[in-house]
Symmetry: C2
DNA sequence: TTAATTTATTTTGTATACAATATTTTTTCC
DNA sequence: GGAAAAAATATTGTATACAAAATAAATTAA
């Protein structure tokens, strides 16, 4: 109501406007926005607002939100609405653990199933990643560095595992936004390149070790001590005030 | 329209009729029906019909169907409707492969994270499974034999992996319906018991080996030769008819 | 009769309307 | 002024209405 944007903000021009997988387009758009960290964790995703932005009714927005919720990058609180997920430290560790497990399996399978053109595909992906890093295009870099893992899953020829990896990679992106320690994220290009080389050489243990090291490096740049992150203001600025705060406000 | 069942068939009596997680209840009901093999693969899931049965509008049925579709036990064909999934042989192999990978990790983690009461829980689960088998309650047996794997995932303390296992177990149920070779499904109780004992003894390699053998036994009772399954009538009853069937109808 | 075409019916996709629940603002009371 | 209560507003949950597509039935042509 109070928004100033026009009714159709995204769908202006190219799309047939009333045809095809409207659904998928909006999903892709929102998924990319979260993956590329343009939407911060905790952001409220109002159905009305999104409907205005994409020029559709709440019905289709709802479908998209439920899909994103099932992929755990959006959280729906009943009667309260949808929000970009804020993974807890415990959830973050779960995601990283699941990635180690699944991506080890994927690396082993990729070594068996690979054909030469697959290696080419991986190399191009890393090249694009390096390029985006050089240009300082953060959004492209996040997308491409995840893309490497997706391509690996595709080489393992398992749509099932690929779907899980897609989910885990996007959740990892949310985790990094929330818990990254330093300001500069470590360059994954070299690690990706090493993994490619080990896969090409069919060095199974070497490839697995490098993948594990890569995921470990990712985890090491996180601060998952939940006491620090979720401590409330009182425990941080704890001045010795006589009368303690009363039982926390009931809302 | 032509159905004879009354408008409210399931929701008669106990439920508050207008409150709470209506959604979840219908989801549970449909999930159980598919898992327990009361709904055959390929069954059409009409929105109107389901709405009548559960006494709700298509809106909420739609939500449930989309959720089931994301879990891959229902397939939605755009503009055609939702159907109970019919996993292809290739998909079946993917699912079994994913289970081997993920459940190996879960077994290892369960060994580390277990407390004595966890073993009790597992034992009770297998006892119930054995009981249902003795009573010849097929539906309960299917549910309980899957439940063992879910409980294992819970002991590994990973909701993420538990969700994946839940998905894979229910897909396995559909796969067994479609591709089981003999008529009698092999008794998993003993294998489950062996896994429990190895976990309790903290015999990691032994527990993993037993889990792998268990999943292998499951796969071995399947006939995944896609030539047999999907061959059309002509190739089976191939009489030497002069004029071959004309180029297939263009719709 | 068989096949193709047209018409009718059914079913899904989306928008909208209304009810139920949260949230915000205003009012009241101390 | 500040907290509590009440009213007003906004947002989600569900049902319904209508449009688009697919399926089924009926008609026509060969």
């Amino acid at each position: 109501m109070s928004r100033t944007a026009p009714t159709v903000a995204v769908n202006q021009g190219d799309a047939p406007l009333r045809k095809g997988p409207h659904n998928d387009h909006i999903y892709d758009e929102m998924f990319a926005a979260i993956l590329e960290q343009r939407l911060a964790p905790g952001t409220k995703l109002s159905e009305d607002t999104l409907g205005e932005i994409f020029g559709v009714s709440r019905t289709v927005i709802r479908t998209v939100l439920q899909r994103l919720a099932h992929e755990r990058i959006v959280q729906i609180h009943p009667n309260r609405g949808a929000f970009v997920s804020e993974p807890s430290p415990a959830e973050a560790q779960e995601v990283l653990q699941a990635r180690r497990l699944i991506e080890e399996g994927i690396v082993r399978e990729a070594i068996r199933k690979q054909v030469p053109s697959d290696i080419e595909t991986l190399r191009r992906s890393v090249a694009a990643e390096r390029e985006s890093l050089k240009k300082g295009d953060h959004e492209a870099w996040v997308r491409l560095s995840g893309d490497f893992h997706l391509k690996l899953a595709a080489i393992a020829r398992s749509q099932t595992l690929a779907a899980y990896v897609k989910e885990l990679v996007s959740r990892t992106s949310l985790i990094i936004v929330q818990y990254q320690k330093g300001n500069l994220s470590h360059c994954s290009c070299d690690e990706h390149t090493e993994i490619i080389e080990a896969i090409e050489a069919r060095d199974e243990e070497g490839a697995v070790a490098r993948m594990m090291a890569h995921l470990k490096a990712c985890e090491d740049q996180l601060n998952l001590r939940n006491d620090v992150v979720k401590a409330d203001l009182f425990s941080i600025f704890a001045k010795p005030v006589k009368r303690a705060r009363k039982s926390r406000s009931v809302i």
